[in-house]
């Protein structure tokens, strides 16, 4: 079996990268190799994983500096003897080795508005048409790997923004609620303000790393920004509001 030079972060914030030569097979993924390392030279290596199928969002890390799922990185893309640097996600507090404390995300999950459906029809039922629910399906693909949160420079490079910015994963969440055909609070400013949408400079790194293929920037963030523009900056709507105010004043 060929060998790779796995350079893995070990320890807490004061830790260091340690290199290990580990055997691998072309058909494997990085996570397999990390598991081999864990069963041989580094038995106390901390690493989260669950499905090994890119579906649970547990094995998030940074492979050669790129936020990615370790179970989705194929070894065939590396050459024998190559050095592969594996680091824990930078944006979250490090617990040990490759495991970080992602609880900041759970706090944000509590901050974003919950679904508040419109009243039911007279027969006591809610109705939605297929064409109306298609748009939200994309947002439901999220596996909560938090790679988009990890890569977002707003908090990655400026942790002081963490109080004012819920991050791309929760913009996806807000979009799925705000654009829902049965949502009753879409028009309320409280549904869009206070989450830090205007901190995002649409540089699209979240979209680049999302393993679920969600077009976070194009389909969630920009449309939400545009809904804010409707509320605040659209000259035609200003005019419309002035006219309708004038009419209702009469």
């Amino acid at each position: 079996m060929p060998l790779v030079d796995l350079k893995v972060w070990r320890g807490d914030d004061n830790g260091e990268y340690i290199s290990y030569l580990v055997e691998y097979d072309e058909g494997e993924v990085i996570l397999d190799v990390v598991h081999r390392l864990q069963s041989t030279d580094a038995q106390d290596l901390a690493v989260r994983w669950n499905c090994k199928a890119g579906k649970c969002g547990s094995c998030s890390a940074e492979v050669n500096g790129k936020p990615s799922l370790m179970c989705m990185q194929r070894m065939v893309n590396f050459t024998p003897g190559e050095e592969i640097i594996i680091s824990p996600m930078k944006t979250f507090p490090l617990i040990k080795d490759l495991v970080t404390d992602v609880s900041w995300n759970y706090e944000n999950a509590r901050k974003v508005p919950a679904f508040s459906p419109k009243k039911v029809d007279t027969d006591g039922k809610h109705r939605m048409q297929q064409v109306d629910i298609e748009r939200g399906q994309e947002f439901h693909q999220c596996i909560e790997c938090y790679l988009c949160q990890d890569v977002c420079h707003v908090i990655r490079d400026h942790p002081e923004n963490k109080d004012n910015f819920v991050g791309p994963r929760f913009f996806v969440q807000i979009a799925s609620v705000n654009m829902h055909p049965l949502e009753s609070a879409s028009q309320k400013p409280s549904a869009l303000y206070g989450f830090g949408l205007d901190y995002c400079n649409i540089t699209k790194c979240c979209t680049e790393v999302c393993p679920a293929g969600i077009k976070i920037t194009d389909n969630a963030i920009i449309p939400l920004k545009e809904r804010l523009v409707d509320d605040k900056y659209d000259p035609v709507r200003w005019l419309g509001r002035i006219i309708s105010k004038g009419k209702s004043g009469k």
Partner: protein, 260 residues
């Protein structure tokens, strides 16, 4: 299997600038150089040389100067392009794609994904000056006006001296109008206005119609970056081409034989 300790110094706190090993700097570099060349060229061609470098010949008018108006009352040092350029300029400057491009290439905010941003603090588009980017909706309305104007220029370029014909210039101006339309109708603000702002498309026939248009705009929008670049390059080339023909540096190949 051997294990060895190779690195004692802590890379973790700053991740140096990045641990990426690929050529992450290539895209922001190319984009930065490309935008720089275009801005320099258009400033010189349209703003500085406006009245000193002929921009009109036969049926061709450079798209930087289309539509031609008030050309006579202006002092010679003021370029007639100033009536035109503010619209595409503010549209492109505040475009979501170009924002991404120049935030990465010039503001290094961030230069590439997972590459450390050099600035110490960051407030994005939440404060002055960048909050001004929200005027994109205004400039989108302005840009919509220019689509028929440029099509008009393109169609006119097939007619000269009482004869319908075709020349390299007419083809260029036609491609330019087409690409500009793709760029404008693929705009994120336009996509929102057409249907993105709705939560339900099934309330009425009108809404269902908007959904159909929205689907088309969504396809165009998903290639917005390519429309942005192709329309930028072709508008620059069309301008250069008309200037060169008008200055008699090159001869236009066409069915009219000559413009002179």
């Amino acid at each position: 299997m051997v294990s060895q300790n190779t690195q004692t110094e802590s890379l973790f706190n700053r991740y140096a600038k990045t641990l990426r090993k690929d050529r992450w700097w290539l895209e922001p570099l190319l984009v930065g150089v490309g935008l720089f060349i275009f801005v320099m060229y258009s400033t010189v061609s349209a703003a500085l040389l406006g009245n000193y470098w002929p921009y009109e010949i036969g049926p061709y008018v450079s798209p930087f100067f289309e539509p031609l108006f008030y050309t006579d009352i202006l002092p010679k040092w003021v370029s007639p392009a100033i009536f035109i350029l503010w619209a595409p300029l503010s549209f492109r400057m505040t475009c979501y794609y170009y924002r991404r491009a120049y935030y990465r290439s010039y503001f290094l905010s961030p230069p590439a994904c997972a590459v450390q941003e050099p600035a110490d603090s960051y407030s994005g588009e939440s404060t002055v000056p960048l909050v001004v980017q929200n005027i994109h909706r205004f400039s989108m309305y302005g840009a919509l006006i220019f689509v028929p104007i440029l099509w008009n220029g393109a169609i006119r370029s097939f007619y000269w001296d009482g004869e319908i014909g075709i020349g390299i210039g007419s083809v260029l101006l036609l491609i330019n109008a087409f690409l500009l339309s793709g760029y404008t109708f693929g705009c994120h603000s336009f996509r929102h206005l057409i249907g993105g702002g709705l939560n339900s498309f099934t309330g009425s026939k009108y809404q269902l119609f908007r959904k159909k248009i929205w689907n088309i705009v969504t396809v165009i929008n998903s290639h917005h970056k390519y429309w942005a670049w192709s329309s930028l390059i072709v508008v620059g080339l069309s301008d250069l081409y008309v200037h060169m023909v008008a200055s008699e540096w090159i001869t236009d190949i066409n069915t009219w034989n000559s413009f002179f």
